[in-house]
Structure formats: C-alpha cells, structure tokens
C-alpha cells in the first residue's frame, strides 16, 4: 500500500499545479474501505511521494510542484540546463529520503513523551494551546497577518455550522437536514484544493497554454550521481535535515521556509558559495533535505496534541478521523499498536521512496509534459466522485463547488488557506475547550493567566501576534 501511495503521490507531485495536499484530499476516499493499518500508510505514501515529486518539475522546467520545492529551482534547474537533470533529480531524492528518515526518527523518539505531557493538559491549557497555535499559523502563514486572521475566523464560522455537540441545538442550518451534521471536512478540502485550482488555471489561460516544453537532459557519465558525490554533501544533508526538523515542530512555518533557510545556511557555510545558483549539488541537497525533514516533525504536535502544524497535516488529521482515530494524547492509549505500525511504515516508506524514485524518476520526468487541458478536466471527475463518496450524497458535491469558489477567491486575493482549514477542523474542539474552561474556571477566563502553562502559552500567543503585526507594518503589508 505504501509503494502504491508513493507511486501515485510522485505522479501527482510531478504535475505542476497539483499538490500532495490535493492528491491526499481527492484520494482519501480510496482508503475508506481499507483498515487504518493499510489506509493511513497508503495516504502517507501519497504524502511522501507527492512532496518529493514536487522537485521533479522544479528541476526540469523551473516550476515547483510544491511550495517546498521552490528553493530547489536555484540549482536544480541550472543543472538540468547543463544536461545533468538526472543527477539533480537523484540528488534531491537521496536528500529527501535521508531528511525525512531523520525527521521520522525524531517523531518516533519524542511523540510518546510529548503525548504524556499532553495528558496533564486540562481544558484551560488546551484552550491556550489552541489560541497559541492558531495565532502562530495565522500570523506566520502568508505575508499578511490580517489576511491570516480573516482566514482563521472564516474556518471558525464554518466549523460552527450544524448541530452543536455541547447543547444539541442547531446553528446556521437554514432548515436543511444535509447541513445538520455540519460541513463535511473532506468535501471542503476537495473544493478548496481541486476545484479552486481548476478555476485558477482556467482563469489564467489554461486553454491557450498547451505548448510542449522540451526537457534538456542527456545521458552519459556527467549525468550520473556517484557515491562520492553523495558522500560529499553529507554535511549539508544532515544540517539541512536538522533545520527542517526544527521548523517542522513549530506549527505554521512549513516546508518552504525550511527549504529557503537551509539553502541560505548551506550557501553561507559552504566552501564554494560562489557555485550556488549555477548548478551546485549542495544547492539541490539542502532545500530537499530540509523540506522533507519538515514532514516527520510536523506530525509531532499532531500526534501529541491533535494540532496540525500545516495544511498537509490538517488533511492527514482529517484522514485519521475518517479512519476512526482522533490524534491527541489518547491516540496512543487507544491505538498504540496501529500507531507504531504507522510510524514504522513512515520510516520504511522513505526507503521505498528512495528505491522507487531511483528507478521511476526518469519516467515521471515525462509526466511533467502532460498537457493541462487533458489533466484538469480529469481532476474534476475524480473530485466529484471523491466528494460524493464521503456520504454518498450529491449535496456534498454542491458544497464542494461552493468551497471551490471560496478557495478561488482566496487564492486570487492571496488569503492563505491553511488557517481556514485548520480552524474549520479544530473549531469544535476549540469551542469545547473554551466552554469547559469557562465551567472549570467558574466563568472567570482571566484565571487562564493564573495557571502557569496556559499563562505562558497565551503570553507567547500575544508576543507572536505583536511580532507578526510589527513585521507586517515593516513590510507595509498588514
């Protein structure tokens, strides 16, 4: 299942305009009939394959398949121009696999201790943690803190639709039975990612953009990656993996920041900084190791606290819930064996990615050339059947289209999607923790500042929002 996921993920990641997140969103229904032990690793395979696949178009046609692969263009594309496309793709594969494996090991070591810490969290601490995480995600994701907050509150109001689980009363259902159970998360995701992207592509001139792109690559010794070359970049791979892992633990920062940070650090610490930007192997290894190392670490706050650090872990959170497993401290109490199997699956999937990627990357390079006019109508068909199959209900398909339009407008106005998706998913948990805190603290929420953990988290949230505002004012982009 992992190999199948990796092959599908690499396929989607190789296609510019399609992301690993979109791939998981539209392919989650394929895992419905599988037990969690097979379904989740399948999705993990898509996730890892999709994120790695993003490097292929970045190297070949200077178009990153994922945001995290944007920094790979700096040296990957010049290498392709010099006829070393295969070498660059394989270097990115090795760096990705090593970075991801190291990050998964960090996840493996720290998730249980962190989950045990989470067990000591009461409702007030959880509420403060939610506030801190949301402020971090809204403030750091995107370039405008106000747009981030707007997106976060849009998600919160979406989460309020349906029957309120605490009081049992309905909210904003306008007499529709279909809305009583709330907005289906998967439907919303498919709309926000797949339909909105199709509208963006159509609006941007997909119809005219059917010309073929020639990939400049050649066989021969200079396009082969040697063991000595891999050994030569080991320092860069390890330091970039450490940067990516650290960035991944902090919610909201994400793979693109890790990749750019690792690239600039690698350049600064390199013996040959002048070679960067001209087709340097270190310049490919650094961003790829870092953006992949974000993956495992990103699961740490998700598994321990049930809080996703970015869009893709939010989508994975949805996948866990679909499979009857709610991430958080109880996850290891209720599903310990399954969880360890999944995490070992994550570690082994890096090895499978390395092997499959090594042999299949030259074929995936050709996928970059599939014309969009064939690709995007096909995605609509898959998106429709995907959203329908969640509840076997055509109403969900209509909701998917509504969110497609919302996603299109958000993309056009550069309002980040991540805060909306995360609050839509966590909105009910935030509300429950608020109400429980309110009852526990006898209606005096100011007592949140008298409990050390919640006080520190709220203080950090305040510092983050002030810092984000100052940064935005400096950039003259509130």
């Amino acid at each position: 299942m992992i190999c199948g996921g990796i092959i599908l993920g690499m396929l989607v990641g190789s296609l510019p305009g399609l992301t690993a997140t979109m791939a998981i969103a539209i392919l989650i229904p394929l895992s419905f009939n599988l037990p969690p032990l097979l379904g989740i690793p399948f999705l993990v395979g898509i996730f890892k394959g999709g994120l790695y696949g993003g490097a292929i178009p970045a190297i070949l046609i200077s178009t990153p398949g994922t945001g995290g692969a944007a920094a790979t263009i700096f040296d990957g594309y010049p290498m392709a121009q010099q006829g070393k496309a295969n070498k660059a793709i394989r270097m990115s594969l090795v760096a990705s696999s090593v970075g991801d494996t190291l990050s998964d090991m960090v996840l493996f070591v720290f998730m249980v201790p962190l989950a045990m810490v989470a067990l000591f969290f009461g409702s007030p601490e959880y509420f403060a943690l939610f506030v801190f995480s949301l402020v971090l995600i809204a403030g750091v994701t995107g370039e405008s803190v106000l747009k981030g907050l707007l997106s976060a509150f849009l998600g919160l109001i979406v989460s309020a639709i349906g029957i309120d689980s605490v009081s049992g009363s309905s909210r904003f259902i306008f007499g529709s039975i279909n809305l009583a159970s709330g907005i289906t998360f998967m439907t919303m995701l498919i709309g926000l990612f797949a339909i909105s992207e199709i509208l963006v592509q159509a609006e941007g001139g997909l119809i005219k953009n059917t010309k073929k792109i020639k990939v400049q690559s050649e066989s021969g010794e200079k396009d082969k990656l040697s063991w000595a070359e891999i050994w030569g970049v080991r320092r860069v791979i390890f330091q970039s993996s450490a940067i990516g892992t650290f960035i991944g633990i902090i919610p909201g920062l994400g793979a693109p920041i890790a990749a750019f940070l690792a690239y600039s650090f690698a350049k600064r610490t390199s013996k040959t900084p002048e070679a960067f930007g001209k087709g340097h192997l270190e310049g490919v290894a650094a961003p790829e190791a870092a953006n992949s190392a974000v993956n495992g670490a990103n699961f740490l706050p998700l598994f321990a606290f049930g809080i996703p650090g970015d869009i893709i872990t939010a989508v994975m959170l949805g996948a866990f819930i679909v499979h009857g497993m709610r991430p958080g401290p109880e996850l290891f109490e209720n599903h310990a064996a399954t969880m360890y199997a999944i995490i070992w699956g994550m570690v082994f999937s890096n090895f499978f990615l390395l092997v499959l990627g090594w042999f299949l990357s030259k074929y995936y390079a050709k996928i970059v050339l599939i014309p969009k006019n064939i690709l995007f109508p096909s995605i609509i068909a898959i998106a429709v059947v995907g959203s329908y199959s969640v509840n076997n209900n055509l109403f969900d398909v209509k909701i998917m289209i509504v969110f497609g339009v919302i996603g299109f407008l958000m993309k056009k106005f550069h309002v980040p999607l991540a805060p909306m998706i995360i609050t839509a998913l966590l909105g009910r948990s935030i509300e429950n923790s608020l109400i429980q805190s309110y009852i526990v603290l006898d209606g005096n929420l100011l007592q949140l500042f008298q409990r050390p953990i919640s006080a520190v988290l709220l203080l950090l949230a305040f510092i983050t929002i002030v810092f984000s505002f100052i940064q935005s004012i400096k950039k003259r982009n509130l």
């Binding site: 009081s167 199709i198 159509a202 289209i401």
Partner: protein, 162 residues
C-alpha cells in the same frame, strides 16, 4: 489591482460578512444557556458566532485602516489580476462544474461524466481524437470500475435512466 485596493475590498467583505452573520444569529442559533453554565455568566451556542462577528468587524476595520498606509505606488508583493477574458473562462468553467451535480441526478455518474469531460476537454482546447478518447471515455469507465465495482460505493444512477 494594488495591495491597497485588495485590503479595502477584503475589509468591506469582512464587515458585510460580519453583518450577515449578526443578522442571522437570532433566528439560526439557540440563545438558551449551555448546560452547566446556568449559574455562571450565561454562555450560549451563539458564543463562537458572536466572537466571529466581533473578529470580522475588527479585522475589516483594520484592513481598511491599513490601506491608508499603503499608497498606490507601493510595490505590490503579489499580482492581483482579474482580466475580462480570464474571468469569462473561469465563469464558463464554473458553470460547467455547477451543472455537474444537477446532471448527475438526471443521467447518473457515467453518462454525466462523459458529457462533462467532453465539454470541458473541447472547451480547454483538446482536439486530438486519442486525447479525447483517453480523457473522456477511459477515465470515467476506470473511475466507475474502481469506486462502484472495487469499493462498492453506489454511484448516482440518474432518475432518467431509472
């Protein structure tokens, strides 16, 4: 479109959204206190919607105020382009997508998907016969096989054919 205009539009949208939610709260959300909070300062299921209303107003006002500090000459960090021909293409695509679930009710999954894919492929510029066959015929049959026959998910059969 500049960052200044975008902030103004988003600010106005945020305030209008806030007003709409505020108007609908009394009719759509219960005002009965949540069990367990009757003895405290009352908290109702409308708490989160009211928090959102307040947040949208504050964010909307801040977006509009922030646009004052952005002059038209400020270099925009993004490209906000809505060209007329692009919008028409987007709207036509949207209309085709909107018709999809309604046709599903009538014609069922396979026929509707073949029809919609044919229209979209032709609209998106596919002219080669083998590409049309691949995108319009093979994909819907493959999807139907995977979902209906392998995963046992009953796809819409359509009222006309029934």
């Amino acid at each position: 479109m500049s960052d200044k205009s975008v902030n103004i539009y988003l600010g106005i949208f945020s305030i209008i959204l806030s007003s709409i939610i505020y108007i609908f709260i009394p009719s759509q959300v219960s005002m009965e206190p949540i069990p367990g909070t009757e003895d405290l300062v009352k908290i109702t299921p409308a708490a989160i919607p009211y928090i959102c209303v307040t947040a949208f107003i504050v964010i909307g006002c801040l977006l509009i105020i922030s646009s004052i500090f952005l002059n038209e000459e400020t270099q925009s960090q993004h490209e906000y382009s809505f060209k007329a021909d692009g919008l028409v293409r987007g709207l036509v695509t949207l209309l085709i997508v909107i018709s999809y679930p309604f046709l599903l009710e009538l014609l069922g999954y396979l026929l509707t998907t073949i029809l919609i894919l044919l229209v979209l492929n032709i609209y998106f510029g596919t002219r080669k016969l083998w590409q049309l066959a691949l995108g319009v015929l093979i994909l819907p049959i493959f999807i139907t096989y995977i979902f209906r026959d392998l995963m046992y998910i009953p796809l819409p059969t359509g009222s006309v054919l029934n």
